[in-house]
Symmetry: C2
Subunit: 352 residues, 2 copies
């Protein structure tokens, strides 16, 4: 089973974006709220969006299941206030739940969290724990996205290792769900979103983790760094040396029981480095389709984000490691995913 651990609902029907625009505008103009009930999207629209988009590509590429979350850039936690963020998260997550219930064999839901920057941070972490509980307990979600920069491009919050985040980590541990650490949009003209802020977020957070003992406090907490871990595997020696300089334990011991990297690296050379440097147990297959890069690579004839085709071409990966990277690790890192798959298989059996 080939599991893509990183897919966003980038093809959501336009009504979603329009509702969000109204939500932001109403708050900015007068502090007014827009009701979630004003958003109407029919199941047929969801089916169309998925069947012509992610499901079509899943079939073309031969992947089986995608861990599916709201558009990451669209989380945009800096807009409005804590209530804005909470309502938007619920709207987004409810839509993801509907998609995954329409295609239970193909998509499993991962939620966004109602984070907020500035003075609202601590309260928003508690609200995030509550929304995570709702999504996992009531809607069958298997993981969450955690934004390390709710200011959206200016890094105004403390590191993710700060105790302010502990209520969320306690809930994640209790529910046994991991987080993909994923920034949202950048509203900073100096730092573009998908090709700068995204990668920089991954890199910054890895270093936050290197400098802390977060996993001593939460030995079973699991975090996935997307986009191949930003700059980290390419600079693995820098991090190894820094840990030695500081008298810290090796990266394997300090971090690799808890930190995982996805394979959203859009060329073969990069994927070779990733799978060569990072132990196979810490690499999770992902494409982030349909996402940041959509073209076909004229050098390969495959889309840049068709990471499966590129991984397939790397002969140095052993069959055992390939099984782990393509799906085994995802089932281990997202234990509720196996429960969900089993549940839907039983439902299908019963329906026969």
């Amino acid at each position: 089973m080939i599991i893509d651990c990183h897919g966003h609902f980038t093809t959501a029907p336009p009504a979603l974006g329009k509702w969000r625009e109204r939500q932001i505008a109403a708050f900015e103009e007068s502090g007014a709220r827009v009701s979630p009930d004003e958003l109407r999207i029919h199941d047929d629209e969801l089916r169309d969006a998925i069947e012509q988009g992610q499901l079509k590509l899943q079939r073309e590429r031969g992947t089986d299941l995608t861990l599916f979350s709201p558009g990451a850039g669209k989380m945009a936690h800096h807009y409005g206030d804590a209530e804005t963020s909470l309502v938007w998260s619920r709207v987004s997550n409810d839509l993801i739940a509907r998609v995954c219930d329409l295609f239970p064999d193909r998509f499993a839901p991962v939620c966004q969290l109602p984070q907020s920057p500035g003075a609202a941070l601590a309260g928003s972490v508690r609200a995030s724990a509550a929304e995570l509980e709702r999504c996992v307990g009531e809607l069958g979600f298997v993981g969450c996205l955690l934004n390390p920069d709710p200011s959206d491009g200016y890094w105004q919050a403390p590191p993710l290792t700060d105790r302010v985040y502990y209520p969320l980590y306690e809930k994640m541990v209790e529910l046994d769900v991991p987080a993909m650490v994923h920034v949202a949009m950048s509203r900073n003209d100096a730092v573009q979103g998908t090709c700068a802020h995204y990668l920089n977020g991954d890199t910054a957070v890895f270093m936050q983790l290197c400098e802390s003992d977060l996993f001593r406090d939460f030995p079973t907490l699991r975090l996935i760094l997307p986009h191949g871990g930003g700059a980290v595997p390419y600079h693995w020696g820098r991090y190894r040396g820094m840990m030695l300089d500081r008298g810290r334990p090796p990266l394997e011991e300090a971090l690799l029981g808890n930190v995982f990297f996805d394979t959203c690296v859009y060329h073969r050379r990069g994927l070779e480095l990733l799978t060569d440097v990072i132990p196979a147990a810490n690499v999770l297959f992902a494409s982030e389709m349909i996402g940041a890069v959509r073209s076909v690579d004229p050098e390969t004839g495959h889309r840049f984000d068709d990471t499966l085709a590129q991984l397939d071409a790397i002969g140095s990966i052993t069959p055992e490691d390939r099984g782990a990277i393509y799906g085994g690790n995802a089932l281990r890192v997202f234990p509720r995913l196996r429960d969900r798959i089993n549940h839907h298989e039983q439902q299908r059996e019963a329906a026969r």
Copy 2:
């Protein structure tokens, strides 16, 4: 000739740091200035610092010459005001000039610029052009460091492609000197300096350049991205695809006539990727010693920052490419370096 294009005076005598502390404290307390005349460092102290530090490692490793600049983190452009930054730059640059005059065969000077964040930005760019002219014209400098984030960790300035920076680029083109784009310290708890902000700066600036036509306005402007270009070569496919998505020219055409990457990547796998993905004409040997990482890698027996030993071990680099990477490219990118080398050789000849 093996030229290390990236060395900072991290071993400067403690008097320098103490003067800087007094400068910052006096300004913060009462807006007072501390005179550069209060800083006294003897030539013997400089000789000791270099002979026990960078020169010793040059000899051990077999490198010939280092492009030598003030400590990058110590530039710390956010402190004080424009005058603070100007005086500190002159103090730092004058010291670099002295080191390079003491060891003219071993070190060639690269200056820091008196940049400032916020409202002082535009004026500080003009002051930077003037300081560059002083350093190059009067002191024989061959290049400069350009900080893309004078706010030191919060990215408050426009991108380096903004017209506010054009007076500096005009001066760089006129003087035919390149800039290494190098952030200074990070005062942001969420983004550590050497292992996050440094790499993120390189990545953010590469993307700024991808999005602009800066090199149409300045066809001979040359910028070096240190630390192996941050995350860029590892994510080369992402950038190639993004340019295609946007209908922009290929990276080779848009950027590689003007943008260069150094080899400060502290493990062999990373250097293999760098030299495999980036054309040899765009890669400049560098170690950043004595810098961010100082330990010996127990896996290789070499220091992590001994990038020469690691490059030597990569058999796939052709002799011609190796010559370009190890020194030929530096002589091309820093044309004043050859003039300086020739000048000192003539002086030595005349003295015989």
